[in-house]
C-alpha cells in the first residue's frame, strides 16, 4: 500500500526457519566402549534426612534421601507370648519403600511430576535391587523409606539412582550386607554393534537396547538386572552383563572413599 506508515512491513519473501536453526549433533562421538565417566559422590549432605547421598556421573545428577526406621503401616499386631512359632519370620521383616522421582527440569522437555508408569517401574527396580543388600531382619515391623530424585538425566539414570540410594542407606546407619553399585549399558542400533558402558543421554536415546546392572561388589552377587529393547543373540546380553559387572567393580573404590569421608565429617561435627 503506498505510503502506509502505520504498518510494519515484513520482507517480501520468506524462508523456512530450519535454514537458520543450529545443527543438532548428528551422532555421538566414537568412544572407548568401556569408559566410565568420572563420578562425584557425596554422602551426608542433607541435615533433615536420616541419610542422604548425591551422585553425579557426567550429566546425570541424582539426590537420594533415606528416612526411618519407622513403624510399619498396615496392621501391626499386639505382642504374643515369646515362643510363638506360628508367625512366619517374613511377617517380622522390615520393609523398604522406594520412590523414584524425576524433576520436571530433568530432561529436555518439561515433564509434569506424576510421571506415570515409568517412575513406578524404576521405583520397583530400585526396591528389588536394594532389598538383598539391607539386613531387613534387624528391623522387624519397621519400614525404611528411600526417595530418589533425578535432577538431570544425562544417561544411565537408574544406575546412578541405585548407587546413590545404597550410599544414602549406608549413611543413614542402616545395617547392610554390602553396598550396591549400579551401572548402565546401551547398544546402538545396527548390524554388529558393541555394548557401551555408561551411556550418555544421546547414546541412550539412539540405542536399540539398554541394560542396568546392580552388583554387590564384595559379595560379588548381582542384586538387580533391568533390561529392555531388542537385543540380538543371548551371548551379547551375557557379554553386556559381564561388562556391567566390571564397571561396577571399578566404581566401588570411589564409593568407599565417599562413605569414609562422610563418616569422618560426621565424627568431626558430633562433639560440637
Amino acid at each position: 500500500m503506498p505510503g502506509d506508515h502505520r504498518r510494519i512491513r515484513g520482507p517480501e519473501e520468506s524462508q523456512p526457519p530450519q535454514l537458520y536453526a543450529a545443527d543438532e549433533e548428528e551422532a555421538p562421538a566414537a568412544r572407548d566402549p568401556t569408559r566410565l565417566r568420572p563420578v562425584y559422590a557425596r554422602a551426608g549432605l542433607l541435615s533433615q534426612a536420616k541419610g542422604s547421598a548425591y551422585l553425579e556421573a557426567g550429566g546425570t545428577k541424582v539426590l537420594c534421601a533415606v528416612s526411618g526406621p519407622r513403624q510399619a503401616e498396615g496392621g501391626e499386631r499386639g505382642g504374643g507370648p515369646a515362643g510363638a512359632g506360628g508367625e512366619a519370620p517374613a511377617a517380622l521383616r522390615g520393609r523398604l519403600l522406594c520412590d523414584f522421582r524425576r524433576a520436571p527440569f530433568a530432561g529436555r522437555r518439561r515433564r509434569a511430576p506424576p510421571g506415570g508408569g515409568e517412575e513406578r517401574e524404576l521405583a520397583l527396580a530400585l526396591q528389588e535391587a536394594l532389598e538383598p543388600a539391607v539386613r531387613l531382619g534387624r528391623y522387624p515391623r519397621a519400614q525404611l523409606e528411600v526417595s530418589a530424585l533425578l535432577l538431570e538425566d544425562g544417561g544411565s539414570a537408574l544406575a546412578a539412582a541405585l548407587t546413590a540410594a545404597a550410599l544414602a542407606l549406608a549413611d543413614a546407619g542402616v545395617e547392610m550386607y554390602d553396598l550396591v553399585v549400579g551401572c548402565g549399558l546401551s547398544r546402538a542400533p545396527g548390524p554388529a554393534p558393541t555394548w557401551l558402558l555408561d551411556p550418555t543421554r544421546l547414546e541412550e536415546e539412539r540405542a536399540a537396547a539398554g541394560l542396568t546392572v546392580a552388583l554387590m561388589p564384595v559379595l560379588n552377587q548381582v542384586a538387580g538386572l533391568l533390561g529392555s529393547g531388542e537385543g540380538g543373540p543371548t551371548e551379547s546380553w551375557a557379554e553386556a552383563v559381564r561388562l556391567g559387572l566390571e564397571g561396577c567393580q571399578r566404581l566401588y573404590p570411589v564409593l568407599q572413599q565417599c562413605l569414609v569421608r562422610a563418616a569422618r565429617r560426621r565424627d568431626a561435627a558430633a562433639p560440637l
Binding site: A170, D171, A172, G173, E175, M176, L179, L259
Partner: protein, 140 residues
C-alpha cells in the same frame, strides 16, 4: 593424641573368625567377619577370650525394641482385654519415632527389673483413667 581411627563401609571384610568374635554392626559369612555399618572399627581386647570386633556409629540409630528389652511406654487406649501403648524409651534412651505396642491383660505384671520373655498369668489390670506411664517389660 587419640590413635588413628579406622573407618569401614558396609560389606568390608574385617578379619577372620579366628582373630576376633563378631560384635554389633558386623555379620559373619564364610568364616570371615564383615562390617555391616559405615562407622569406626573398634576392637575390644578381652583377657583370654577373643577380641570383640564391632563397628560403632556415634548416633544411636539401631534403637528398635528387641525381645526382652525394657521399654517405657505411655498408654494410649484401654480396652477390656488389652491396652495399646506408645513405646517411648528403650532402656534409658528416648526413641525418635515412637512405636506402638499392645499389652494384653494376662501379660501385664508391674515388675521393675525383670527381663523375662514369658509371663505368668495375673489378674486383670486396673489402670486409672488418667493414662498413667507404665514401666514394665512389655512386648511390642
Amino acid at each position: 593424641m587419640a590413635p588413628p581411627v579406622r573407618y569401614c563401609v558396609p560389606g568390608e571384610r574385617l578379619c577372620n573368625l579366628e582373630e576376633g568374635s563378631p560384635g554389633s554392626g558386623t555379620y559373619t559369612r564364610h568364616g570371615y567377619i564383615f562390617s555391616s555399618l559405615a562407622g569406626c572399627l573398634t576392637k575390644s581386647s578381652e583377657n583370654g577370650a577373643l577380641p570383640v570386633v564391632s563397628v560403632m556409629r556415634e548416633t544411636e540409630s539401631q534403637l528398635l525394641p528387641d525381645v526382652g528389652a525394657i521399654v517405657t511406654c505411655k498408654v494410649s487406649s484401654i480396652n477390656s482385654r488389652f491396652a495399646k501403648v506408645h513405646i517411648l524409651y528403650v532402656g534409658s534412651t528416648p526413641l525418635k519415632n515412637s512405636f506402638r505396642g499392645t499389652i494384653r491383660k494376662e501379660d501385664v505384671r508391674a515388675t521393675e527389673k525383670d527381663k523375662v520373655s514369658r509371663w505368668c498369668p495375673s489378674a486383670g489390670v486396673r489402670c486409672s483413667a488418667l493414662r498413667p506411664t507404665l514401666k514394665n517389660s512389655g512386648k511390642w
